[in-house]
Amino acid sequence: MASSAVVTANQLIIMAELKLFRTWSSRFSLRVVWALDLKGIQYDTIFEDLSNKSSLLLQYNPVYKKVPVLVHNGKPLLESLVILEYIDETWKQTPLLPEDPSERAMARFWAKFGDDKVLPSIWNVFIKQGKDQEEAIVTAQENLGCVERQLTGKKFFNGETIGLVDLAFGWLANLLSVFEEVCGVTLIDLEKFPLLLEWIQNFADAPIIKESWPPRDKLITKYQALHEVYTSKEAPK
């Protein structure tokens, strides 16, 4: 956790009780880790085993029973993008969202597009085979094309510094290559997605961000096992 940001006495009081429930690999939990670390906020981490959820997790998130859950002074915050907005409103240093309302709306739009369209379409490529997979690749690349265009003239989606949309798309910087390796498909190539590839490099290597990546070999093992489950269910085409 970063300690380089200057913390005021008031912030120390607000930080008093801050706990993050997460797993080692959860891409949504990682967004919250980054947001807290970028703002220099101290917190306790509780690692959950999702096959054996703690009673605390079930108590804090009875609706979804999922991570991440951020508990601030006993009050649970749920849903990673909602948590990010809460963090940004509570701790004003290193803002994640711009000030201008229309720019904020655009940031929310692209974060939502990432979760609603990009992520599921890439997951589809990962779990499907044959002709279904070919169709899934077309859809995924169309969605990635929309994202690529958002990087025109910018280092990060937020401009010169990392913001909400960068954190929302963060999983692209580590998980995408894991998916590509496990299922043997290259989705993002230099010809079609030069800006996205550059963003991936910049984001993956950024201070604070790079300190939290889960171990790649462990991710490969995890997703290899998942891939086998999904592709063995499919009838051969």
Partner: protein, 223 residues
């Protein structure tokens, strides 16, 4: 003059466009309304929302915004009167959570019950009722999600009551009832009686007929 700077592209039967109409009405914002003929989307709509090509689109000072819940937050940030979201960050987070829950779990479940047949329909209806029961817990015993007055979640989820009622009539399965969800049932009724909410609603008989036709098309298409 003010009317020219705010434009809403919508469709009369779209619950998502309705949300934006409600928010604009609540805040007393003048705007120009453009009715889209959805089977024949206008070049303007395609230009303003190239990613999703859907309504609603709010255009403010020539800047187009899409996705109704995001438009609601924008409206709330630009026009401060009659706020939709509370001031306290934790209360705001709760509101965003329940709006998202209604959006991700309740709306689609009602739509699934509406568009499927036989066993799939029964299963979808059961899921819709369960999710609506969960939504009820978000009320925390209050009259509206916003407390004594309409707020963000009320506007985000309010359409579901009306559509769930119509769906129930069309498919013959009740999705909301006073017995199992007394608070939610009371909330939907109270919500639909609020004057500015009522004023923006499309004519009920026309909407029911429209949805009956839509149901026929969807269930003919599904195997």
């Amino acid at each position: 003059m003010a009317e020219e700077t705010v434009k809403l592209l919508g469709y009369w039967a779209s619950p998502f466009a309705l949300r934006v109409k409600w928010a604009l009405k609540l805040k007393g914002i003048q705007y120009q309304y453009v009715e889209e003929d959805l089977p024949n989307k206008s070049p303007m709509l395609l230009q303003y929302n190239p990613v999703h090509k859907k309504v609603p689109v709010l255009v403010h000072d020539d800047k187009p915004l899409a996705e109704s819940l995001i438009i609601l937050e924008y409206i709330d940030e630009v026009w401060k009167q009659n706020p939709l979201l509370p001031i306290d960050p934790y209360e705001r987070a709760k509101a965003r959570f329940w709006a998202k829950f209604a959006e991700d779990k309740c709306g689609p479940a009602v739509m699934a019950a509406f568009s499927k047949k036989g066993e799939e329909k029964e299963k979808a209806a059961k899921e819709a009722r369960e999710n609506l029961k969960t939504l009820e817990s978000g009320l925390e015993g209050k009259r509206f999600f916003g407390g004594e007055t309409i707020g963000f979640v009320d506007i985000a989820a309010g359409w579901i009551g009306c559509w769930a009622q119509m769906t129930g009539e069309i498919i013959g399965i009740k999705l909301i009832d006073a017995e199992t969800m007394p608070l939610l049932d009371a909330w939907f009724k109270d919500f639909l009686e609020v004057p500015f909410i009522k004023e923006c609603m499309p004519p009920q008989d026309k909407l029911l007929e429209h949805n009956r036709e839509f149901h026929k098309i969807l269930t003919a298409a599904s195997t």
